[in-house]
Symmetry: none
Subunit: 203 residues, 4 copies
Amino acid sequence: MARAASTLELRQAAKREAILRAALELFAERSFDGTPMPLVAERARVGTGTLYRYFASKEALGNAVYREAKAAMRRALVESLPPGLAPREHFGRLWRGLARFTVGEPATVRFLEMQHHEDYLDAESRAAGGELMESVADFLRGAQAAGAVRPGPPEELIALALGAFVGLVKEAANGRFALDEAAVARAEEAVWALLARPPEDRP
Amino acid sequence: MARAASTLELRQAAKREAILRAALELFAERSFDGTPMPLVAERARVGTGTLYRYFASKEALGNAVYREAKAAMRRALVESLPPGLAPREHFGRLWRGLARFTVGEPATVRFLEMQHHEDYLDAESRAAGGELMESVADFLRGAQAAGAVRPGPPEELIALALGAFVGLVKEAANGRFALDEAAVARAEEAVWALLARPPEDRP
Amino acid sequence: MARAASTLELRQAAKREAILRAALELFAERSFDGTPMPLVAERARVGTGTLYRYFASKEALGNAVYREAKAAMRRALVESLPPGLAPREHFGRLWRGLARFTVGEPATVRFLEMQHHEDYLDAESRAAGGELMESVADFLRGAQAAGAVRPGPPEELIALALGAFVGLVKEAANGRFALDEAAVARAEEAVWALLARPPEDRP
Amino acid sequence: MARAASTLELRQAAKREAILRAALELFAERSFDGTPMPLVAERARVGTGTLYRYFASKEALGNAVYREAKAAMRRALVESLPPGLAPREHFGRLWRGLARFTVGEPATVRFLEMQHHEDYLDAESRAAGGELMESVADFLRGAQAAGAVRPGPPEELIALALGAFVGLVKEAANGRFALDEAAVARAEEAVWALLARPPEDRP
DNA sequence: GATGAATGAGCGTTCATTCAT
DNA sequence: AATGAATGAACGCTCATTCAT
């Protein structure tokens, strides 16, 4: 049985969270390269040296932020998914879960969308999020077998659909249009059309 | 009658090109912030000081790279577009033009996809490429009027479709799958379904 | 009641002093423009980066050095001045105070004599030392009213007398002659003759 | 017998003069360290490389400017001096010659007043102007023998008197007062009092 | 002889990281 | 365990000097 966490351990966990949160926000706002460690410390309300008690280096902090972000996104999507849904509804839950997550955690989404994670990500981080990808791919394979989704490598379909979502969010952030519920719903329809097996192919 | 370019002018133009090329590649590989000017100089095979004879600052170089990239992309897409095409074929040309350009100029596409351009772009650069966006929006409006494309703000549709393309390219670059002609063709079909007016809405 | 200064605060104050001292000496030896910041750091026995923890920029350091120098000179002159002195003795105290200060702090005097302070001084620094000038001008006005000093704008007389002092110090520094007590005394007599109301004008 | 100067030699002499003039003005305005060679070239209307055909280095140019400036000042003072003048009038000619030269050639005077010539002057330049100093010292010795000038090392008196002049010019340049003819005349009286043998010492 | 494009050493400054307190 | 003062390598950029034209 797990030993109860001591007060100290709790305080340390909270401090670790504060650092991760500060880093996530700043990396999302100003990029990884553009964020000095002392600024992370200030936002997290800890001393600069303290950062290095929790993370071995800026790179290690970047990796931890990345993995946390991936995990948070996975949780958000998985939670919205009761088992046994029809493909269209399964997709709808994923899409709306993504939208809800984006509204609630814009920094996380913005951070994950960013390029140049490769510069500092290690192999383990790169693998992170793979299981979400895999579970979505499984869903797609099932839906393809059921004739609900167009044929082709599921990875390609995921890339297209997720890319469409990211494009929507990015342009909305640029102020080109508002990301309100109606827009999210319109986009859901459109992206489902991208995924769905074309009617003319159906028997 | 235009004076013939002197040897010096030719060499200077070539040097300017070499610098822009080197900067584009490095910015695409390592991001703007992550690329030291001396590295640009080395890749362009010029002295560090020489960079500053052609571009007033790193920021100015970044803006020039961005504008060149936008212009190159516009040229690639516009060239593939004879007038008077049917919507499906018009879209097909754009999509395949984009794919061809991506294969031929991966650094340019990767660079343009990147975030955090805002940190160094000036107003003129920000406006660059707007006309391409506008002409695609015009195409979509026409196609919507003709009943070929689903209703809704064209900017949202562009964001979704272009996002899908970017997602495809990005994941292909991550090695998840190959971006061969078949994949491009499959994706073209899928994204056209995203854009097209759903059959069930048609009279 | 003032809190006692901690060890750290004392060390920091000492470090700040060391930087100001090193900068003063180097600026006096080689001019502001001619002194690289790493050289200041080396002379002050701190790392280059440490300079920027105490002064925001080279310009800020230059201003601080200037203001300290002006203040030190003012202190040296004011201290030598009990109130109620006769004009001749008042001048003598100023002159000998200046001489003593020059011998004790040659770098400070040499630095203040330098040109091209304007290039980096801010408005506040420019104003520094004005009160010393003003108090000497007041003394001269009083002495003129008492018939002890020749008529004319006090600023001109100050410029001449202080210029004479500076000329003396500069040529002595060039090795043309020694600035011993006898020379200072001879010069005091001569410069008083410059200031004093000519005997033939006296009733 | 000297060969007549060829057209080329004349053009070169003119170019040399233009460079020296440009350098003098810029060094006076912005200091030696603060003046880039390309700026000298631009002001002299020659190519940057051309500077190095006339002067081996920036340092060599600085030395040449300095020597020219010293020589110009010597010429201005010597020309105002017919032989056989009484001490008071001899001094008056020197003083007014200095004032006239300052008005006509402010850049030269400002340049010569500047500190930190030592950083680049060679031995020969340092010696330049010594003969003027020597001739003034001779005048003073004669005037001392005649009982017109106060006793003491002539070098000290020169340092005081010249320093007073420089102080006057410097403060006038700072805008503290105008350097008009009346001010110059007042200062002449005052500085003569500095030099003159005090009346009470006279038999 | 004259040029100015090219160079790289060296500038002022920042920031990831260390370590004495 | 926590801190933040201290550091120096590395940044963007300048400029004295060279050399192909």
